[in-house]
Assembly symmetry: C2
Homo-oligomer: 480 residues x 2
Amino acid sequence: MHFSSVIHILGFLLMFLAIAMLLPIPFSLHYGDAVHFQLLFSAIITFVCGLIGFKSTRFERDLRPKEGFAVVTFGWVSFSIFGSLPFLISGTIPSFTNAFFETMSGFTTTGATILTDIESLPEGILFWRSLTHWIGGMGIIVLSLAILPFLGVGGMQLFKAEVPGPTADKLTPRITQTAKILWGVYVLISAAETALLMLGGMSLFEALCHTFGTMATGGFSTRNASIGSYNSAYVDYVVIFFMLLAGTNFALHYRFLRGNFKAYFRNREFLVFFSIIIAATILIGLDTFLLRYENAALALRKTLFQVVSILTTTGYGTADYEQWAFSSQFILFIMMFMGGCAGSTGGGMKIMRIFILVKFVFSEFTRLLHPHAVVPVRIGNSSVSREVATNVVGFFILFMLLFVIGVLAMSSMGLDMATSFGAVAASLGNIGPGLGKVGPTDHYAHIPLIGKWVLALLMLMGRLEVFTVIILFSPSYWRK
Amino acid sequence: MHFSSVIHILGFLLMFLAIAMLLPIPFSLHYGDAVHFQLLFSAIITFVCGLIGFKSTRFERDLRPKEGFAVVTFGWVSFSIFGSLPFLISGTIPSFTNAFFETMSGFTTTGATILTDIESLPEGILFWRSLTHWIGGMGIIVLSLAILPFLGVGGMQLFKAEVPGPTADKLTPRITQTAKILWGVYVLISAAETALLMLGGMSLFEALCHTFGTMATGGFSTRNASIGSYNSAYVDYVVIFFMLLAGTNFALHYRFLRGNFKAYFRNREFLVFFSIIIAATILIGLDTFLLRYENAALALRKTLFQVVSILTTTGYGTADYEQWAFSSQFILFIMMFMGGCAGSTGGGMKIMRIFILVKFVFSEFTRLLHPHAVVPVRIGNSSVSREVATNVVGFFILFMLLFVIGVLAMSSMGLDMATSFGAVAASLGNIGPGLGKVGPTDHYAHIPLIGKWVLALLMLMGRLEVFTVIILFSPSYWRK
């Protein structure tokens, strides 16, 4: 391990975070909420710490996978520690556990909150809270399309070929190039959503906060009743559309913007993603269309919104799905594990992996009937290498194992079945709202102290494709 | 497909079943319950149908895998159809759905019942009901140690080397030899349990019925309160001991009886099986020892009984575990998926597969750190072939997929979360009692009609290692 290089990069990233902390200040001053000094003070602390780390070390050599895992994991952890300063210093979230939970939930684009009355918070703080999502989303896009494919985590190497940018073998120049391109796309789509939401009557402040929450598939809102509080078909459909975009591989958006208008519907993963949304809306619709809402248009809007929100792992709400039939809730629950497309800001296991798992099972049947045949796992016209299939399967087993351990931990703290299942699935999949006492109309304030740390760890592991975090606990990682 | 050979074998097996139907008659006569004619009549119908099938066809050639899958699946289905005749003809279970459910539950050694008052049934019928377990168990031992390893289902080929009997390549002589040896072991252990239960005060009738339920890891009792109704520490510990034996690979019992006294504790799978029991008893004990029972001895007895009963997938009960903490219930729920050792009469995914899955994940971590290394999955001193590991993983994905589809189906019929999860896990894993409204003190009578068929199919698939059944639905199976 080259600690020097790792700390050097982390220091640099913290300085960037410090500058981001200044962005809420104009809103704070505009609304006169008296937290601008606290924000400035947080930014200064963060900047100074970052500067010390940056200056006291140097970038020794190009990164190896080992340093890559450390930068990513410790990057998210240090962002969550320093990012909680505005909450702590302003006194809006006085407990460190709660502030850390909220910030980790932000940077991992989860959207689970410990706040019981969001609307009572100063605007500057709410802006910062939503901004953590957007920053987290920026990190995820680069992580999933430029870093993990080269670290070989959970089959992400599938995307080596799909990534825009130079095809250099060295990690650093490639990350820089790819990041510039994809962040451009991210900023562009974000600007479009902000404009459309303002057209719908939101203020710049609200439009930006909800854009941050949408584009990062986060889910933090400025309202207690989430998007539902606007009670507007226009707002709902704008958010649905942009949640869909956020749950789609950003490499496809890049290709579309470059003029390849068929990019989406030529992509198998996107087609599966789209089909799941339609199928789930129909299945849940059998319940909601007939029984829950006064007219079909309202039922469609409510059903589609929750389906897209959960599948993309955003977690915005316009309806209390716990009032729906358990079968509908179970479909949402299963979608929490699926998540968005790989290369999107969405969490969960990713559609591509689910697709490969199903294909894997089919190839097993062929193998049973033809024991001596070589049966590849095929996606469209190309076949998935054994290595990738093995990585994907390993990821699935580990994800399920973590879910079981998580539920065991949460239930041992006295949580009931629905709450344990919901909280763990929603944290591991980076959704936000779960089931039971952490459902769409609830919050995480009442979770026991240790439980909050467990869930925060699950958010981190889920967000960083699990292996990236757990490998740091492996003794052979630390061996020379 | 050589239908002729398949029907020939099925006819032969039905004649065997018909003879088995005569066994309850002495008990029926002894207790004067007036169902002996009905049993005789059922036996005659079954025998005649079997004879027609047997005589109208001939055994054309040695079986290929294709015919193997058909014999196994249709064997269990036809046994469940003809085996329900005594219930139907005696009028004790007048509905065909219920009678089929009960019989399938018997032959698959599940033990889920639709009966609301077991003690009101005639002894002859109760004896037949328990006997279906024992016959099912005989089938499973041969299936898992002599048939599936050669069909390559779900990694069972691991056991090719472990099986006693000749090492001939042809399937038929091997099955015959292996069956004789293993059934000898099965009968011997069964006789021992019957004797020990009679020493504890049970009548021959009760001792035999409970032996059938134990040795097959079935769970049908002659009492409404299951083993709990005896309220005897002696009976509990005898049943615990024999459930443990039934959940252990029968090839190990064979080796032990041949003088290899270290056979058990040299077997990795058995060690893991044993460790899980100890760990689960301690974890659940944290709840039951402190809060639920008046003294430690009683708490140990109750906890150990339910742990062994669920892990071996027997399903006998001496306590209502739904009164325990949800964390304890969740541990039992997870054990429903694990099941007994491969080569035992236990259901579930089997300990060996769980072990390989965990090892598989570890090998993925090694691979991440050393991308160019060849990393085998190791069990003890030998390494598992890629093919076996792939088969096991495919089995796991399919099992999880079936669980999800099962819960989706059951919840769409209006069942709640705990009941859906419990019923599907208990059917697929061949346990019997689940959670919620199908908990240890409940029954399956109230499940909707279609739901009973879904659960019966899940029992069949779970029992026959899933692939064996589903492959019959594959179009390429039926292609010439």
